[in-house]
């Protein structure tokens, strides 16, 4: 029986004895209290127990956990956590949007990392049942991605490693940005859905990718919904069309051929990208994806990248 301060258990008997000691020896007690105060409150991580049983409810988090060396502490993931390969062998507790509450409880996790897609009611229910849940909302841009990565690292005690990874990533990104400054930005349309046609809004992070890559998202002025019409695309006349959704690639490529007045169609600059890569960006793979985008937007002369 005791209470917790910074996750250090302080038994009640000790407190009582300390109290009596203080009352009997006021002067020396003052110094002793100061020392104890500093030890307990100011010493970061002293006696802190980092979580040893982690459940990840999102592919990004899973990847990041492994890159921070916490793969062993991860006891369960979702069906969608397929990177890295080792993660596929872990226990599964459900999908991105729906988890099996009983299984999560039965695995006795110290902490559960949830995403913006995790069912909020389930998050609440878990919290009510005494499970520690940390939710990672959608990231908007590269800085967000690094910030969330750092937050994750702090919670599992791997700040040093995280700092290194982030610094390296920021370097790469700076280098890549240098390649595109000064170049005229192509106008890009990113398609993430068909029937109905869906694109990325100005506040989504794919938009951030485009801008970092030195392009302009034709739909950047959209705020809430990504519903778009093909007519509007014709009007906007983008230089590049990127199809970033599974399964619709062939039909959509054919579909776009019906509008040869669009610059992207005429110049044969319709590309596909793996949506997983874009939607699951960690500081480590962000620069690689950015590089690919830059090569699409500003191809090196003689190395025009087509339709991959």
């Amino acid at each position: 029986m005791g209470f917790q301060v910074n996750r250090v258990q302080i038994p009640i008997s000790f407190v009582l004895r300390l109290g009596f000691f203080i009352i009997r020896n006021m002067k020396t007690a003052k110094y002793i209290i100061l020392v104890i105060f500093l030890a307990v409150f100011a010493c970061p991580g002293y006696g802190d127990k980092y979580p040893e049983r982690i459940i990840s409810l999102g592919p990004v988090i899973t990847e990041e956990l492994y890159s921070l060396g916490a793969g062993d502490e991860t006891v369960a993931v979702t069906d969608y956590c397929v990177f890295p390969q080792q993660a596929r062998k872990k226990e599964k507790v459900g999908t991105l949007t729906d988890i099996n509450m009983e299984k999560v409880l039965a695995l006795k996790p110290d902490i559960v990392f949830a995403t913006a897609l995790t069912n909020p009611r389930q998050v609440q229910a878990l919290k009510k049942l005494g499970v520690r849940v940390e939710v990672f909302p959608y990231y908007r841009n590269f800085n967000d991605i690094c910030g969330q990565f750092m937050r994750l690292a702090e919670m599992i005690g791997e700040q040093e490693r995280a700092k290194q990874i982030i610094t390296a990533a920021k370097e790469k990104v700076k280098h890549l940005r240098k390649q595109v400054t000064g170049k005229s930005p192509p106008r890009v349309f990113v398609q993430i859905g068909a029937r109905p046609l869906f694109t990325v809004t100005g506040d989504s992070f794919i938009n951030d990718y485009i801008e970092m890559g030195g392009g302009i998202n034709v739909a950047a002025d959209l705020a809430k919904s990504g519903l778009y019409s093909r007519e509007e695309v014709v009007r906007q006349n983008p230089d590049i069309i990127i199809i970033a959704a599974m399964g619709i690639r062939e039909q959509e490529e054919e579909e776009w051929q019906r509008f040869p007045q669009i610059s992207a169609v005429a110049e044969n600059r319709i590309y596909t990208m793996d949506p997983y890569r874009i939607c699951s960006s960690t500081p480590e793979n962000y620069p690689d994806t950015l590089k690919e985008l830059i090569q699409i937007f500003h191809p090196q002369p003689g190395k025009v990248k087509k339709n991959e």
Binding site: K92, N100, M101, A106, L117, N119, P120, R121, K224, S225
Partner: protein, 333 residues
């Protein structure tokens, strides 16, 4: 008619037994199989430890919700089918669920998850009110007009919901779709208690209208000649059944088929007298939903099938079986 009374009592006992068995099975099965000893001690001392927590805070509420939801929807289905004298009517036909779903969808957008059940219930009440006010133009309340109004209202709310879905972001969209698909999970004890109290009171009041329901099944004019205050009874029963439906939909989402199929199956087995039909439908509905939910939970564990899928498939198959094996002539005894 002692023979008949005895038969009825036997049916109730039999169905209650099956319900209890299904409940125990559902409580046992899951990600962790919980022993009976643990179940018993959890009930007495509240949930402690992993098993206790799972049992007390996840499974027990879920089982209780399944029973009241299956039972309530079936009773509502019986009442609606008798009022409209139409075998295809079920609790969701009249737009109550549409109003609830729309209200919930509108609350998911700004992220107000805490008030979803309340919002759903209010949406349901508004639907009931609208359908009632639009259809009550003459002294005589024409049930055909009510049916039509309800169906139209259903269409309108469906379209509105699709509009909301089209304009929503991905995570909101998921939330809306999953709510609509119906689920018996994640309900706190407070909500379960409220749902049980409201639904049981409504079901019990409905039971006292058994004779009137028997009379109305013969026809409204017939019922009038038998001394039933048909207009008043229609309104009261419509309100009660809609209230039950609204209350349940607000908490569980849309779990279809129960209100349509269970009344028919039970009617084929125990007969048309509402004095036995109502309690048998309640028990039968509870059994049906409980078993469906158990199947939905375990068949592709750790993932879960939406319970509405299981009720639809099983309900359809069982119904066709019963239909095919009926004695020649009209249905049942």
């Amino acid at each position: 008619m002692n023979k008949r009374a005895v038969r009825w009592v036997l049916w109730i006992v039999f169905l209650s037994g099956i319900l209890a068995g299904a409940a125990v099975l559902s409580l046992y099965v899951g990600a962790v199989n919980i022993s009976f000893k643990k179940m018993f001690s959890s009930v007495i001392r509240g949930g402690t430890g992993v098993e206790g927590t799972i049992f007390f805070h996840i499974r027990l509420p879920r089982v209780l919700l399944a029973v009241i939801c299956g039972g309530g929807l079936s009773v509502a289905g019986v009442v609606f089918q008798a009022l409209f004298r139409n075998p295809l009517v079920e609790p969701y036909t009249l737009g109550v669920s549409g109003g609830a779903a729309l209200a919930v969808a509108l609350c998911i957008i700004p992220g107000w998850y805490l008030i979803l059940p309340a919002a759903g219930f209010i949406g349901a009440l508004i639907s009931i009110l609208l359908v009632y006010l639009v259809s009550i133009k003459y002294k005589r309340w024409d049930m055909n007009v009510v049916l039509l109004t309800g169906v139209m209202f259903s269409f309108v709310t469906s379209s509105c919901i699709m509009l909301v879905m089209a304009l929503s972001r991905t995570e909101q969209l998921h939330g809306i779709i999953f709510w609509i698909m119906g689920s018996l999970a994640e309900s706190g004890w407070k909500i379960i208690t409220v749902v049980w109290v409201i639904t049981m009171i409504a079901v019990l009041i409905t039971y006292f209208f058994s004779y009137s329901l028997n009379a109305i099944s013969l026809g409204e004019e017939e019922a009038l000649h038998l001394g039933v205050n048909v207009e008043l009874v229609k309104k009261i029963l419509f309100l009660l059944a809609s209230l039950i439906t609204g209350c349940l939909v607000a908490v569980t989402g849309i779990i279809g088929f129960i209100g349509l199929v269970v009344p028919h199956i039970v009617r084929m087995v125990v007969g048309r007298d509402h004095r036995i039909l109502l309690p048998a439908a309640f028990l039968g509905g509870g059994i049906f939903l409980l078993i469906s939910d158990t199947i939905a939970r375990v068949v592709i564990a750790p993932r879960e099938l939406p319970v509405g899928v299981v009720t639809g498939i099983i309900g359809g198959i069982v119904f066709i079986y019963f239909l095919a094996h009926q004695p020649l002539g009209q249905g049942g005894k």
